[in-house]
Subunit: 316 residues, 2 copies
């Protein structure tokens, strides 16, 4: 097969070429840089590029498989791809390690007062009344029980935390001491010291969390959002933080991104913010490539057994 990548795979592409020398691997800078020959002959396209649209795909008459190096496929021309019978696999799961780790970074920053100790060091101070809290025996509740939440829950249990998972039907998931359905989420919020949103953006998750949810979490709670910012309206978030309805928030995602420098969120003293970076990893392409390699070994004729095969009827 002729395989074109518009993802900058660098040495990973050489590794692929060596391991799968029955195929021809070609790297192009972007989809705009595909040659007429590329378009005509490519059977497989590795991409992570918002310009992959129906018009382009129509020119790629031999294309059989799109290897999408992101998790979300909602901007791809799914209906057309389904009609054409193009196989689509994505990079679901490549975020779980880095996002899980950052959840604990936020918790440590908050529970261990790392900023306060940093300030103490800057002032050459030694004596202090700063007292830290322990993760041990705390209850952490994840909204969503997918791969990221499950991995983070496993680590939380290693810290001696109690884990609660919230999903649509309350089904049991490994590494959660308890699971609750979305309808009963406020019962879980009441028990939790930390609530972590890891939900993706769908029609069902936009504006899901309202003031009553934060009232259930209460003034003890640290709310962490590494899912999508649209899960709660910014005005609601500002109100609950300003009025200390919850204790603190750690946010990597925002309703409108990039966050405006004039956002009132910056004025709050009980907030930790990062600029949508928890999913980044120096090993991102390596991990996505490992999934692709497994699928290449399975072989395109057995694509129904592929890892991360997108189901066009579900849209993910």
């Amino acid at each position: 097969m002729k395989i074109i990548s518009t993802v900058k795979l660098k040495s990973l592409l050489n590794d692929l070429q060596q391991e799968f020398n029955e195929h021809e691997f070609i790297e192009r800078e972007s989809l705009d840089h595909l040659t007429a020959e590329d378009l005509a002959e490519a059977e497989l396209l590795i991409a992570y590029d918002s310009e992959l649209d129906q018009q382009l795909l129509e020119q790629m008459t031999n294309l059989r498989w799109v290897v999408w190096y992101a998790a979300g496929v909602n901007n791809l021309p799914l209906t057309y791809m389904k009609e054409r019978g193009i196989i689509l696999t994505n990079a679901r799961g490549v975020h779980k390690i880095q996002i899980s780790e950052f959840i604990f970074a936020y918790i440590m920053q908050d529970y261990k007062h790392l900023n306060d100790y940093h300030d103490l060091q800057q002032s050459h101070g030694y004596q202090t009344k700063i007292r830290t809290a322990e993760l041990y025996a705390q209850t952490i509740c994840f909204i969503g029980t997918g791969e990221i939440a499950e991995n983070a829950a496993r680590i939380a249990q290693a810290f001696g935390m109690k884990t609660i998972g919230i999903n649509t039907d309350g089904r049991e998931v490994e590494h959660f001491n308890e699971t609750v359905s979305l309808n009963y989420r406020r019962e879980a919020f009441k028990k939790a010291d930390i609530v972590v949103n890891v939900l993706p953006e769908t029609d069902a998750t936009i504006n899901l969390l309202v003031k009553e949810d934060f009232q259930a979490m209460g003034e003890k709670a640290l709310f962490i959002n590494v899912g999508r910012g649209t899960v709660v309206e910014e005005a609601v978030l500002i109100e609950v933080l300003k009025n200390k309805i919850i204790r603190k928030a750690a946010l990597d995602v925002f309703y409108q991104e990039p966050l405006d420098a004039a956002s009132p969120l910056y004025k709050l003293d009980n907030i930790i913010m990062t600029p949508h970076i928890t999913g980044l990893s120096r090993r991102y392409n390596e991990r996505a490539t490992n999934i692709f390699k497994e699928n290449l070994k399975i072989g395109i004729d057995n694509s129904k057994d592929f890892i991360n095969l997108v189901d066009y009827t579900k849209g993910y």
Copy 2:
């Protein structure tokens, strides 16, 4: 038995009195506040007070058991206590949760650039080139394989880290992928991304780490010290940090404590410092009391089965 506590146990003392109502529990503000009756009648003393010396013990003619609410017993009159046949138990193990957690707080602060992200937030910045590192697949090496190291190694493995333990004879310990004897420690340092000292202060550990040890760790290394500051001379530490022989240090303990505000350590930009606080916990007394309760249940007549029974010949 008449049991005197000079540790402020508050409600924990009431709990003890209720659970063990065959004994009489009395709290005194300090050893100076013991009455003549206390001295004459007490059979059991709960203390954490540097003034517990031979002179005082000689007055406590009925004393059979000292429950020491700290780990280190090296300042107690051990020879005299042994002669008298006084049972001594300590609070070994009560630090493992909080110190383990703080090890990961330092790692998160360093690997996830939490200070840089905090500064970015203060400047209302959103775009950034700050790239973080992952704990996953890193190698962490503990000098010492006692309870703190073992607990931290267990958590490290949950993060997907490789763990190496260094102890006197290289004996295997749970949660360490590999163990190495102290003589071969530099081989372990070469493999490690993070080296954590958790050793207590003994004749054998004072000035144990010299320049060659840090050269073995190399410029990739984060060195964390939550054991005792005397494991490395301050001048050596300053040299290896100033010359970037190692990448960074996170220190909770210092050669001279409290650390002088004029210490050259404050001038270094590759150092994280906290004022000997990683062992503190709001649950310290609760944990020490739980050990004591277990021993009370075992009963003084079976003291050879006690948890944390100090062996006078070993001194710990």
